[in-house]
């Protein structure tokens, strides 16, 4: 190597370049399956052989951890879809803002989102919904005997809301003069009500009634009659899966499997 000094600079450059190249290859090589494209009649899954569900725990009785398993109303319904597709359901717990913004679905984190999620015009822009599968409305949970029967009674008090939910939207619009405090999940929100960190909490009635039943020191004082409906979300344009979900739901309602699951989690038959 006689021209060593002339190569001095070149050497260093080529070393760094080589490492950079190696690193880049390593990163791109690790990427695996392509996310399901839109269009087409056949249902394409993000992970072959698995129906991956995005949800946000806990949302009892729709989805929550019991022992070492995730169970609930939504879980049972999606299991029916998975059965019709002859695959197993796999549940991924992820922050709710990623679900309702549609980014979890766009990023191919899951095939569908079942998270006790109300169909709203804003969310319709971010993702596609199945046919409605559950009727809900906003309600108010307080400690027993507090007598907060409306948002007016809460003037100057603290109201707990859950991040990115329709309850938070409702509170923003209607709870004038009320201090709202935001919680990341409904478990934290309910504990805040129970321990008196907030005077009341707003959330969907199904969840609140279930909690009040299991925690007799709390009660649901009112419903706001917001007339909401839950839908299962799929990536915008993923019609094949959306149609399959609707088909399964329709079949389950017709042969009463839906009613059975409803009774299992809510103790009553669904209202007709």
């Amino acid at each position: 190597m006689s021209a060593r000094s002339a190569r001095k600079r070149q050497h260093r450059i080529s070393l760094t370049a080589a490492v950079t190249a190696a690193l880049l290859t390593a990163v791109t090589a690790c990427s695996s399956t392509k996310t399901s494209g839109t269009g087409g009649d056949e249902v394409q899954l993000v992970t072959a052989g698995k129906l991956t569900t995005c949800t946000h725990l806990p949302y009892e009785p729709f989805q929550f951890k019991k022992g070492k398993k995730i169970v609930g109303f939504d879980v049972d319904l999606v299991d029916l879809v998975a059965k019709d597709l002859k695959v197993e359901q796999k549940i991924v717990d992820t922050p709710f803002e990623g679900i309702q913004s549609g980014e979890d679905l766009n990023a191919g984190k899951c095939d569908l989102a079942a998270a006790g999620m109300t169909i709203t015009p804003v969310r319709e822009k971010n993702l596609d919904f199945s046919a409605p599968y559950f009727d809900a409305t906003q309600a108010l949970l307080t400690k027993k005997g507090k007598k907060y029967n409306s948002l007016k009674d809460l003037k100057g008090k603290k109201l707990g809301v859950q991040q990115s939910t329709t309850g938070e939207e409702y509170a923003k619009k209607h709870a004038k003069g009320v201090t709202t405090r935001q919680y990341e999940d409904v478990g934290l929100l309910l504990t805040a009500v129970k321990t008196g960190q907030v005077d009341a909490g707003i959330n969907d009635n199904g969840v609140l009634y279930d909690y009040a039943k299991k925690n007799p020191d709390t009660e649901v004082t009112t419903e706001f009659d917001t007339g909401e409906q839950y839908g299962i979300g799929v990536r915008t344009g993923n019609d094949a899966l959306r149609k399959q979900i609707n088909k399964t739901l329709k079949k389950a309602k017709a042969d009463k499997r839906y009613d059975k699951i409803y009774k299992k989690w809510f103790g009553t038959e669904p209202k007709k």
Partner: protein, 259 residues
């Protein structure tokens, strides 16, 4: 007052304040409530063995993945930062300033969504974790390693060069090994920080077999409405970080002795 008396008086006052703080806390706190919330034996029992077999294991795996990638990238950045090529130096500085300046939480969210959106591929969970933790860790490690390289006496490079080594060879086999010896304690410190940062992995979305300690604890908090799992998770973090802290002190002592 003599100087000795004054020292004594100041010290007595300090101890008195400390005692009062402890007493106020001990008397004001509701110990029954605290014990119910944090030391529920039944709830504690239910956390085993999953808290070890799943949560602890995942925390360690995530941290090791992130640290390994971060170390490699950090070394590369440190070399770029010291390079004679202007563009490399700029790139390295920009990277370091950016990732040192934004919260890891935002990096996790952007990466979790951004990469799959940009390349239309779904990435293996472990790779995403490795990237996210590594990208953040690399910024800090690059600066540490750079300081280490610069702390190696120039004479070492000169001696290596006069033996006929190329600059790259001198850097790789003479300077970098000595630099690493110098920066081992701060690197172990970075490992401790990454262990705790691995608690942000929940932002990427996890299935139950992917839970790490913090997510496991929070989940159990929701399930049992008891803070006991949070305490248990915290203790397991300490089980990782305390030995590492001990290692840092040992390494520091060794470096001090070697000088």
């Amino acid at each position: 007052m003599t100087r000795r008396n004054r020292t004594l008086a100041v010290r007595t006052a300090q101890y008195a304040v400390l005692l009062i703080v402890v007493l106020v806390f001990a008397l004001a706190a509701d110990w029954g409530e605290l014990r119910r919330a944090f030391f529920d034996i039944e709830v504690a029992k239910e956390q085993f063995p999953d808290v070890v077999t799943t949560a602890l294991v995942n925390t360690v795996v995530y941290t090791v993945l992130g640290f390994t990638f971060g170390l490699a990238l950090g070394l590369l950045l440190a070399l770029m930062r010291l390079s004679q090529v202007l563009a490399y130096r700029w790139l390295a500085v920009a990277y370091i300033e950016f990732f040192r300046g934004v919260p890891a939480l935002l990096v996790f969210i952007s990466l979790g969504f951004g990469v799959p959106l940009a390349f239309q591929v779904s990435i293996n969970q472990y790779v995403t974790v490795m990237l996210a933790l590594g990208l953040v860790g690399a910024a800090y490690m690059a600066e540490t390693i750079r300081a280490g390289i610069q702390a190696v006496p120039r004479g070492q490079t000169e001696a290596a060069r006069s033996l006929g080594m190329s600059p790259a060879r001198a850097m790789a086999s003479i300077v970098i090994p000595q630099a690493f010896r110098i920066v081992l304690p701060p690197l172990a410190n970075e490992l401790i920080l990454l262990t705790k940062d691995s608690s942000l992995v929940y932002l990427l979305g996890l299935s139950m077999d992917q839970y790490e300690l913090a997510k496991f604890g929070r989940d159990a908090l929701n399930q049992h409405r008891s803070l006991t799992p949070i305490l248990i998770a915290g203790l397991f973090y300490l089980a990782i970080t305390l030995p590492l802290g001990h290692l840092v002190r040992r390494l520091e002592a060794r470096t001090a002795k070697a000088r």
